[in-house]
Symmetry: C2
């Protein structure tokens, strides 16, 4: 077995580096993910926000940001954009006058469902190299990696 690719480059030191391989593989799937989202005029990051709000209506911006593990300052421009697209709305919370409760509009719900179908189809369309059951196994292993984040 060789450590060369088709260009004759020796990748020995990177061959068994999960950090490197995960990055390259993530870039590949990001393209798939991105292309599906772009068809609906949106980015993968914005889709993940919609996906969270869809199943968790009423969440605050901070709650969404911690759910997705992004900085809450990044949420401002994101919700601004989704609100300008009329798929998300900020409602003033009665309990806490500091925060907003986030909801999808009717248009937003339909938009998110269509987006979800498109993204899922885009990924499934790219799974031809996977053997039976491998996808589920991969998702499970990735979950374990994510869960082991802090001092597993």
């Amino acid at each position: 077995m060789s450590n060369d690719d088709q260009n004759g480059i020796d990748y020995s030191m990177l061959q068994s580096r999960l950090g490197y391989k995960l990055r390259r593989a993530q870039l590949v799937y990001f393209d798939v993910f991105f292309e599906a989202c772009a068809q609906e005029g949106i980015t993968p990051g914005l889709f993940s926000i919609l996906a969270i709000i869809y199943h968790n209506p009423g969440l605050t911006q901070s709650a969404v940001s911690t759910a997705l593990d992004v900085d809450r300052s990044a949420m401002v421009a994101a919700i601004d954009k989704l609100e300008s697209m009329e798929v998300v709305e900020r409602r003033k919370s009665k309990n806490d006058r500091r925060s907003y409760a986030l909801y999808l509009t009717d248009k937003g719900k339909e938009f998110t469902e269509r987006l979800n179908r498109k993204v899922a189809a885009g990924e499934d369309n790219f799974d031809s190299f996977m053997k039976e059951g491998e996808r589920e196994w991969l998702l499970d292993l990735l979950d374990r990696i994510i869960a082991a984040r802090k001092g597993g």
Copy 2:
């Protein structure tokens, strides 16, 4: 089976999205990778460059950039830094007066080997949640994903 995490958030739409899970997992391993590199005053991107030059001495900057799938303009500052650390040197190519041939210095070879041990140890130290043989399986599957990049 629930789609909630420990905070009671419903992740249904993201639960089986490889694009999302790969990104999260990559972030986790990037931290491991980054920490190991930081101990030697370097970044994961610079390590990958060293790893390529280590096993492929004499490569041009463009060859390294295509091998790592990064823009060749990004190579300039990277090699500048590695040269200032005296681990890499640009030698003028006799055949092609446009390009440089990249080589590791003796110091650079030792540096890269120590770095490689540290990065590998950092990853192995984080593999406790993996079952026997799972790591090889994962690396193989990631390779297939990367190889399927263009029109799989």
